[in-house]
Amino acid sequence: MAPSPPVDLQLAHDHGLSTDEYNQIVQTLGRSPTFEELGVFSVMWSEHCSYKSSRHFLRRLPTTGPAILQGPGENAGIVDLGEGLAAVFKIESHNHPSFIEPYHGAATGVGGILRDIFTMGARPVASLNSLRFGAIDHPRTSQLVKGVVAGIGGYGNSVGVPTVGGEVYFDSGYNGNILVNAFTLGIARADRIFRARAAGVGNPVIYVGSRTGRDGIHGASLLASREFDERSEELRPAVQVGDPFTENVLIEACLELMQHDLIVGIQDMGAAGLTSSSVEMADRGEAGIVLTLDDVPTREEEITPYELLLSESQERMLIVAKDGCEEAVKAVFDKWGLQAVVIGEVTDDGLFRTIWHGEEVVRIPVPALTSEAPVYERRAEQPSDLVQRQQLDLTAFPLPTDYAEVLSTLVTTPNIASKEWVYRQYDSLVGGNTVVQPGSDAAIIRLKESNKGIGISVDCNSRYCALDPYRGAAIAVVESARNLAVSGAKPVALSDCLNFGNPEKPEVMWQFTQAIDGIRDACEALELAVVSGNVSFYNETDGRAIPPTPTIAMVGILEDVTQHVTQWFKHTGDIIVLLGETHEELGASEYLAVIHEQECGVPPMLDLEREKQLQQICLQACRERLFSSAHDVAEGGLAVALAESCITNPHSALGARVSLQGDLRPDALLFGESQSRVVVSVQPDRWPQLQELLQSDGLPHTVLGEVGGTELEILGHLKISAASLRNQWRAALGRQLT
């Protein structure tokens, strides 16, 4: 085996550590670190594991509430569902790996988030994903989309967790950095939550799951460097490849294990594998941990202790068992054909220690890797060109002559076109709980154990965020909440995935802090808590950062799942009503971007009080079963929302005849994206009751017209066959992805 290289400042730099950080390490240890220790520090102090640039600002987010059982800090957040049940959920990014190898990158992203959920004792019951790709005509986009979607399906379908929703956007801002954010929700018994704690001196530390290979080792550049170049090509770090079959049995085995009283703590091995899992468990348990690396099951010969500590091989878990329960634990995993090996024990010395060939190669105080890791309050500065990009002079844009033409162009633009091409490749039914499949504003699943249901929606309009990160992030929160409210699910908590560029750049840091404040203010107004999340920085290529993308995954509850509502028109003769008001707002709209090829102006203004009022009304109307359909107005504005109400029924199209009042520019009236608006349809005999509700509450609303016929007609503006519009809308994405 090749000898470890000498540890010096240069090597520290190769590991991505700054000079100050290296000095802090030497100071903490009172000596220079070993090669293995340097590796451990470099991963534990990496942005990914330490949140060193974001931690300070994340403290601003509201994280508590009556229904919140677990906020940020554990593997996932937990919400109380009542009746002794809890929802465990989190969203996580797998952006960089997915760009390098779309299939395996996306697949292992799904595998990783699943482990975060079942490690807490929850059975995963629903996954969603939020995807961002470059311009659809960019040479790499098509292959990336196909690879990512196949990877999400390939893993999720096989592992047996339904993929019930998500979002996909295309924007040239992602040409060099795609985003793959994966969300999973699991159901646990509120009194049977498991946490990632190492406690009880002498308790055995047990390694379970796949063997360790050289997958995704972080010191890639290093291993390929001078000291090692006699090592052959195969010894280079390898991309992680997921094994959904192993994950499938790992889930069953872990959930079965948790039925018995055998373990103290359990943690998945995610980023920085063995190192972060054991260090985090020791940290949470305020204990120490010692591992004998020689006992770690390996896939290849000649793996070094450095590689064992940093490998990111998939489908592995770390368990702290009760002393004496080793055999019982092994028996459970053996039943499922999995390996369980004791590799260490819990200590009281507060140290992370690892032994290799009888020698101590790592000896680090646990807090040095966690609470005492560097935290940066980086400089934030508004981008110099922002004000200029926010300018918008509508008089510069001539009114279109054919609005029907504009509408069909909009419903076939990749960001609005049907995502059926994507979600039909996902098993959205396994588990037998899917009440509303992909295709409506929110996914709805039922709880077998009760009458309740859960609604989930992921949203972020990154064009809004690029032009105003504060308002854009606030809108992401209210839109995902609105998607739930119009579906009958009361929003309770969210998980956020904050995707940004290089935080060492003041403009990026400014976008980040603005987005945090936007999320905070929207959450406080709507009484929502952030219970889990993930930060992904350095989404940047050749100095070009992605548009700020704070993806919001919102979870809501239906007390009675049969009260859910879908977005498409149901019956001829139903009355169509617009809830909310339309203003002359075309800034940052899909209409400007697609029809006038301009991405400028400010996003629509947001009145949080009005939004709250709207959502409460929608929830009450759903409870009283007043809506035949309800669909929030988003990209493409009112005309597109009406069109979607006509054409998104999975089986067929249904026409409508409406007239829009208002002395706005027609294009703003039709395609403006004013917030806090919902298109609903109501059976005539229920309209009086709804009208009374709206009037007593003083929510602005307008009767637009009536459902029926084969055409969508917006009097004085357009008339178009609903069936043909539906066909164009369904075929558009697949056609453009050739």
Binding site: E101, G213, R214, E234, L235, P237, A238, T246, E300, S313
Partner: protein
Amino acid sequence: MLAKVYVTPKKAILDPQGKAIALSLHALAYAEVGEVRMGKYLEVQLTGLSHQQAEQRVEEMCQRLLANSVTEDFRFEIVEE
């Protein structure tokens, strides 16, 4: 002319299929079986190329499409039929 292309998972890359197949063979009492690796085998019909051109074109096809350079190795042979 026929190109026989063999695409195999890189040595250090996990091969879940090979692993599962090996386990099943053991279960079927083929104790003699050690590691199993599973890859792809492609037969590509070619026309109107010299052997040398074929060599160079197929090499290129493998790099561009037939093999995933991140996870797979490839080798091929050109045979006249």
